[in-house]
Symmetry: C2
Subunit: 407 residues, 2 copies
C-alpha cells in the first residue's frame, strides 16, 4: 500500500507538473517540452525535492523515450530516409567532427591533459534526438525535409557517438582494441541498415499471419513487442535504446495506416514521453550553474558546442539552402543525456576532474534548453498546429473507432 | 546503460511472454488473461526466475491496474450504476457476509483462535475486480446488466473490505478505534458517492475551459491527471488505487465520445494492463501448493471461498433471474491481491501463522485462476468478439483519426 501510494504520487506530480508548465510555455509561445524540463528541475532534489531518480522513475523515463521515438519512427517512411541519405551522412560526420575538434582544441589551449581534452570533445559529439523529435512532432513538422535529415543523421550520429565512446574508453585504459571496436561498429551499421532497407519488407511478409491471430488488436501488440525487442537489441549492441525504438517504428511505418498503429501508439507516447523530459529535468543539479570560477569556461564550452553543431551540421546540408541548413543545425544542437554518459565514463575512469564533469553537465543542460525555442522559431509552422483539435470533431460524424468494436 | 538494458529486458519478457501465452489460451478457447497470469508464474522466481518484483515492475503493475480500471470506468455510464444500485448493494453485502461467516466458522471448528479465524474470514471477503473487468472487456460484455452489477458491487465491496480490514487490524492490536473507523468509512462513502452522482456534472461545467487549452489532445491529458489524482486520493483514504481510477473513468464516461477519451485510453491500458497480470503471476510461489498437510485444508477453504461468493452474490441478485445471478456470482469470485493484503497484515501482526498465510495465498490464486474460464462460459458471447478487428477496416474508408490532425 505504501509503495502503491508513492508510485502514484510520483506519477501524478511528474505528469501534472510537467503538463501545467507545458501549458504555460505554450501560451508564452515557447515549446511545451521546455516546460516539462523545467517542471523536472523544480520537482527535483535541487529545488522542491518532491521527485527523485529511482528504479521506477528512471524506468518510466526510459519507456517514455522509447515510445516517443517509436511513434516518430512510425511517422517516418524508410524511403524518406533513403532520399536524404547522403546529406544525412555529411551532416552526421561534420556535426561530429567539428564539435569534437573545437572542444579538444579549447581544452588543450587551456592547459588540460590530452586524454581529458579528448573526453570533453567526445562529450560534445552526440546528439540527443528526443528533444528535437518532440518539438518537431508538436509543430506537426516531422514530414518536412529538414526533419527527415535530422532523424536520419541522428541514427548515424548515434553510431558515430558509439565509436567515439568506445575509442575514448579504451584510450583511458591505455590501449585500443581494434577488433572489438570494429565488431561493435559493424554490428551497429548492419543492424541499422538491415532495419532501414529490409525491415518493412520482412514485416510485410508476415502480414497474413499477423492478421490471423486471435488476440484483439494483435498488430499493435506485435508492434510493441518488436519495439521493445529492438530497443533491447540496440542496447546489447551498445547503442541507445531509442535507436532501436526508432528503427522498429520505421520498419512498421508502411503498415501503420492499415494496422492503425499510429493512432494506438500516439496516446502511449503522449502519456509516457513527459516522464522522460521531467526526469531529464530532475537530474539537473541547479547548484552546478553557480560553481564559482567555472562560469567563464562553461560558457565558452557551451558556445563551442552550439556553434560546432550549428556550423558542422549546417555545412553538411548547405546544398538544401540556408533555411533548411539552419533548421538542421539547430535541430542537432541538444546533447541531452548522451554527453553525460560520456562524461560519466570519464569520471568513473578518473580521467576527467569533477570540475570538468560539471562543465560537461552545464553544456548538456544549456544545449538542451536552448534548442527548443530556436527550433520553433526557424521551423515552418503549419496552420493547424497548436490549436485544440481532439475536442471538436465534425458534428454528426461518428467514426467507427468511437464504437470500440474490438472490445 | 545497465539499468536501461534491465528495464527493457524485464518489459520485453513480461509483455512478449504474457501475450504469447494469452494467444495460446485464446486458441484453446480460454481467457487470455489466464495466459498472462501463467506467463508470470513461469517467468517468476519459483520457476524460470527471469522476472522479479522490484520497484520498477511493481510500479508498472500498479499503473497497469489503474489504467485498466480507468478504461472500464470510461465504458460505464454513471446512470448504468444507479439503475442497479440496490441490487449491487445486496450483492456486495451478502457477498461479503457469507464468505466471512464460512471462513470464520470452518477455522473455529478446526480449533484455531478467534482472531486467526476472523483474519481468514476477512481475507475471503474482498473481490479483486481487475480480472473480471478484463475478461468482460475481452468478451465485449461490459455493457451487460450482469457486468454493471459486478462493477457497482465491486466498488461497494472495496469500501466494505476496507472496513473489515480496519476492524481486524484493530482487533489484533487489542482495541477498536470507532471514531477512526467511522471517519475512514465516511470518507470512502462520500468520495465514491460524490464521484458517481456529481463527477460527470462537475466535469461538464469545465468543458469550455478544457477545450480552450493550448496543449494538443488536452482533454485526454487532463483525464490522465484526473485518473492519477483520484487513484492517489483513494489510496490516501485507504481504498485501493483502482477504485479511484474506476470512479474517475466513470465521471468522464459521458464526455468520452466527445473528447475521444476511450480511443486514447484503450491503447494505454492494452500496453500497461498485462504487466499487472504478469506480476500477479510472478508473485505466486509454486512451492506453496505442495506444502504437505495443508492441501486438504486449503482445498476446503478454496471451495468455501468460491461457494461463499457464488451463493452470497447470487442470492443478492436472484431477482434478475438465475442466469444473471450465476454470472454475477462467478464474476465476484476472484480474490486476486486483495486477500493477500489482509493476510499480509495478519502475518505482520503475528496473528496468523505461516501455514494459514499459505492457505490464504492458495485461496487467492485458485479463485483468481478458476474464475476466468467459468466467467467466459456463463457470459453471453457477442458475435464480433474474439475475432481480429483492427487489421481489416472497411476498404476505402479512412476515418479522420488516421490522418493524425493533432500532430
Amino acid at each position: 500500500m505504501e509503495h502503491s501510494g508513492r508510485v502514484l504520487l510520483e506519477l501524478f506530480l511528474m505528469f501534472a507538473g510537467g503538463k501545467l508548465l507545458a501549458e504555460i510555455f505554450e501560451r508564452l509561445r515557447q515549446p511545451g517540452v521546455l516546460g516539462e524540463l523545467l517542471a523536472g528541475v523544480m520537482l527535483g532534489p535541487s529545488l522542491l525535492s518532491l521527485v527523485h531518480t529511482n528504479e521506477f522513475t528512471l524506468g518510466m523515463a526510459e519507456i517514455g523515450a522509447v515510445f516517443l521515438l517509436f511513434t516518430v519512427g512510425l511517422e517516418t517512411k524508410p524511403r524518406d530516409l533513403f532520399e536524404v541519405g547522403w546529406t544525412a551522412i555529411a551532416v552526421a560526420v561534420l556535426g561530429v567532427a567539428l564539435p569534437f575538434i573545437l572542444g579538444l582544441w579549447y581544452m588543450k589551449v587551456g592547459g588540460h591533459s590530452t586524454v581529458e581534452s579528448i573526453f570533453v570533445g567526445a562529450a560534445m559529439v552526440a546528439t540527443s534526438v528526443g528533444i528535437t523529435a518532440r518539438v518537431l512532432g508538436d509543430l506537426g513538422a516531422l514530414s518536412t525535409r529538414a526533419a527527415r535529415v535530422i532523424l536520419a543523421a541522428a541514427v548515424l550520429d548515434d553510431i558515430l557517438g558509439l565509436l567515439v565512446l568506445a575509442v575514448v574508453s579504451s584510450l583511458s585504459t591505455g590501449q585500443i582494441h581494434y577488433v572489438q571496436l570494429l565488431t561493435v561498429a559493424a554490428e551497429a551499421v548492419v543492424f541499422s541498415l538491415l532495419m532501414i532497407f529490409f525491415g518493412s519488407k520482412i514485416i510485410g511478409r508476415f502480414q497474413p499471419q499477423v492478421e490471423k491471430l486471435r488476440a484483439q488488436n494483435s498488430a499493435f501488440i506485435l508492434s510493441i513487442i518488436l519495439c521493445l525487442g529492438l530497443s533491447l537489441g540496440s542496447v546489447y549492441i551498445g547503442m541507445a535504446a531509442i535507436v532501436g525504438a526508432f528503427l522498429s517504428g520505421l520498419a512498421l511505418a508502411d503498415h501503420s495506416e492499415r494496422w492503425k498503429l499510429h493512432e494506438n501508439a500516439h496516446p502511449l507516447s503522449e502519456f509516457l514521453a513527459p516522464f522522460f523530459f521531467v526526469i531529464l529535468g530532475v537530474q539537473v543539479n541547479v547548484r552546478t550553474f553557480v560553481t564559482p570560477g567555472l562560469i567563464g569556461m562553461a560558457s565558452i564550452i557551451c558556445v563551442l558546442a552550439i556553434v560546432g553543431k550549428l556550423v558542422g551540421c549546417g555545412l553538411g546540408c548547405l546544398r538544401l539552402g540556408f533555411k533548411d541548413a539552419l533548421r538542421v543545425g539547430v535541430g542537432m544542437v541538444p546533447r541531452g543525456e548522451v554527453g553525460l554518459i560520456v562524461a560519466g565514463v570519464g569520471l568513473t575512469l578518473h580521467t576527467i576532474s569533477d570540475a570538468v564533469y560539471s562543465i560537461v553537465l552545464v553544456m548538456s543542460i544549456v544545449t538542451t534548453l536552448v534548442a527548443p525555442p530556436f527550433l520553433r522559431m526557424v521551423m515552418p509552422i503549419p496552420s493547424a498546429a497548436g490549436s485544440y483539435s481532439a475536442g471538436d470533431p465534425p458534428p454528426g460524424e461518428s467514426p467507427p473507432a468511437d464504437t470500440h468494436p474490438e472490445l
